[in-house]
């Protein structure tokens, strides 16, 4: 290193030191101050609001190219857009048999995907469907009201409760780890999928979600999924959930049952 460059480095280091010294904490804290987030009177982060994910995870939680949809009649509306996946590392660690099952599911998705039939989406899928959801956070429990199919769940923040029965939306027990809302989901009935591409669950699937307010309008969302029946190891998804900021934004009603009755019961109608 030449003297000139050395001098330059020294100068830069001095400048940086000066910069850090000027910050509260005398350079011991990160250069950026923590973003302001809404908080409850207790000091815990307040997630109350209307939220929605962007992106194409609802089509496929893995990285995927654009492709035609199952019905040519829908033209571009029914086609699948390309998108970055939300699976960390890119691969879902299926067992060979489960990987085969996923491919079969995809082939028969119009018949098998619970979303097609307006069934409750389960967890985590409810969080990244292309519909908003409302969080209502009390001083105790936290309610999630999803627009799709009026699915909902209440996260129990009290003493953890064992799932009384298996359900579509599972049993959610929450706890705080600092500013992170951790939701442990058990009792899933195994009928839910992760996306429209046949990625699936079983009744032994266990999901642990982590909600972190990155700032006032963004939730950093992570979920760890484990199920020894179909996965060779636990795996993780992560995405961003955005606050709906439109002045008149509100949760609406999407009771899709009546849009699927012809599909489900059509062959039983009186001719």
């Amino acid at each position: 290193m030449s003297d000139r460059r050395r001098a330059c480095c020294v100068l830069l280091s001095t400048a940086l030191l000066f910069l850090f010294a000027a910050l509260p904490g005398g350079g011991q804290t990160p250069a950026r101050t923590a973003p302001q987030i809404p908080r409850m009177p207790s000091g815990k982060p307040n997630f109350t609001g209307l939220w929605q994910v962007l992106g194409t995870a609802d089509w496929d939680i893995r990285d995927h190219s654009a492709q035609a949809g199952p019905f040519f009649q829908l033209g571009a509306i029914g086609a699948m857009p390309a998108g970055q996946g939300i699976v960390e590392g890119g691969e879902i660690p299926y067992t060979p048999a489960a990987a085969k099952q996923q491919r079969e599911n995809f082939k028969n998705r119009m018949k098998l995907d619970p979303e097609v039939k307006c069934y409750m989406p389960g967890i985590p899928r409810a969080n990244y469907l292309p519909f908003p959801f409302q969080i209502i956070q009390s001083q105790r429990d936290i309610a999630f009201a999803y627009e799709f199919a009026t699915a909902n769940r209440v996260v129990n923040m009290g003493k953890a409760k064992e799932a009384a029965v298996d359900t579509w939306m599972g049993t959610s027990n929450g706890r705080w780890e600092g500013d992170v809302l951790v939701v442990d989901v058990t009792g899933l009935n195994g009928n839910s999928w992760f996306d429209r591409s046949g990625n699936f669950q079983t009744d032994s699937t266990h999901v642990v979600e982590r909600f972190t307010l990155a700032d006032a309008d963004h939730i950093s969302y992570e979920a760890t999924i484990e199920d020894p029946a179909i996965f060779t190891r636990p795996w993780k998804i992560s995405t961003v959930i955005y606050r709906r900021k439109e002045k008149n934004a509100q949760i609406n009603e999407f009771k899709c049952v009546e849009y699927v009755e012809e599909l489900i019961y059509g062959d039983l109608k009186k001719k």
Partner: protein, 352 residues
């Protein structure tokens, strides 16, 4: 988990239960206390809780169970009398205790006639006698006002649940049987099960999660105007505010011609002009007064009011009511009707 196909059996059971509110659970001390004593006790020992951000706190899981079996319309012979006498209440209390004893019986006598409906314990029971003679509390005669002539012409979905089970299509069934919705009154009016109402409050919002059919009413409390009249829905567009400790919810923007003002959303469908004003007033830790004013100028000649108590009960909780997901009733009703037609056609062909 309770299953929709049991609704049919349950309807029969509901008819059998009819006018006498059935009950389970031992007669608690609270049940034997006079209303005046309850009020006095409440007034001296209880202050209305507040949320940490200062709103009245009405959270909890509430149920309308105690008025199961109370008719919407008051029997004409009771005139303008809204409340039962102490003597009548004692009789009803005795009926509840008898019902409880019957519920505990786990076996039937040999050759006894049994129904194929749901077992008794699948239903919910009143825990104390409903003091009211009708759910309608205004007008004074306790009866829903006359329907307008135009309202009488509106189609009522038939199908299962009525005695004329036409099952040409799913559209012959009620919106409840189709697992779509029971509407706002139908989701809280007491029926044989699924009366749970879990209220969760956040700053600026109150939400009411209703077990059947997994409704989640998200009620903005920040004074914002109603959604555009072009946005309509089964459960309408609710807006709330506090009047003292009373939660007042005004709901408009209904689709119209879907659900009616009877338990489970039955009866004559209401119109898109309906406006509902609900008042939730917590009167003690585990009691709440619920009143709803129904104003539907396209259906009824005048507005009217329905009211009943909501209570919190030990161990009572909402479960997931996955109605559509398990609607075998619809498959079975439609396929049964087609099978009957096929059989009838074969018989007719054979007779030729």
């Amino acid at each position: 988990m309770r299953h929709l196909f049991l609704i049919y059996g349950s309807l029969v059971a509901a008819a059998a239960l009819g006018q006498s509110a059935a009950g389970q659970g031992k007669a608690s001390a609270a049940a034997k206390e006079t209303p005046a004593a309850t009020r006095a006790r409440a007034a001296t020992s209880w202050t209305h809780p507040k949320t940490p951000w200062g709103d009245p706190d009405v959270q909890g899981t509430w149920t309308s169970d105690d008025c199961i079996g109370t008719p919407l319309n008051r029997p004409a012979n009771l005139g303008d009398r809204l409340y039962y006498t102490e003597q009548e209440l004692a009789q009803r209390q005795a009926n509840l205790e008898k019902q409880q004893q019957n519920d505990l019986v786990e076996t039937v006598a040999p050759n006894a006639r049994v129904s194929t409906g749901s077992p008794g314990h699948w239903g919910e029971r009143a825990r104390r006698p409903c003091k009211q003679t009708s759910l309608v509390i205004d007008p004074p005669n306790g009866r829903v006002p006359d329907m307008l002539p135009e309202a009488k012409l509106r189609p009522i979905p038939e199908g299962a649940g009525n005695n004329n089970p036409k099952a040409d299509s799913w559209e012959d069934f009620s919106y409840y049987i189709r697992c779509i919705s029971r509407g706002v009154p139908g989701s809280i009016f007491p029926v044989i099960y699924g009366n749970g109402q879990q209220i969760v409050q956040g700053k600026g919002f109150v939400t009411i999660l209703q077990e059947m059919v997994h409704e989640a009413r998200v009620i903005p409390m920040d004074g914002r105007p109603h959604a555009s009249p072009y946005i309509r829905s089964y459960m309408g567009d609710p807006r709330g505010h506090w009047e003292g400790n009373t939660l007042v919810v005004e709901t408009t923007n209904f689709l119209g011609n879907r659900t009616g003002i009877v338990g489970n959303g039955g009866g004559t469908p209401t119109s898109d002009a309906m406006k509902l004003t609900e008042r939730f007033t917590r009167t003690s830790p585990n009691e709440m007064r619920y009143e709803i004013t129904i104003d539907d100028p396209k259906t009824y000649a005048s507005s009217f009011k329905v009211g009943f108590p909501l209570t919190q009960e030990p161990g009572y909780q909402n479960f997931e009511y996955a109605c559509h997901e398990g609607n075998y009733a619809m498959f079975d009703s439609l396929s049964g009707a087609r099978a009957q037609e096929k059989k009838a056609a074969a018989k007719a062909a054979g007779a030729k």
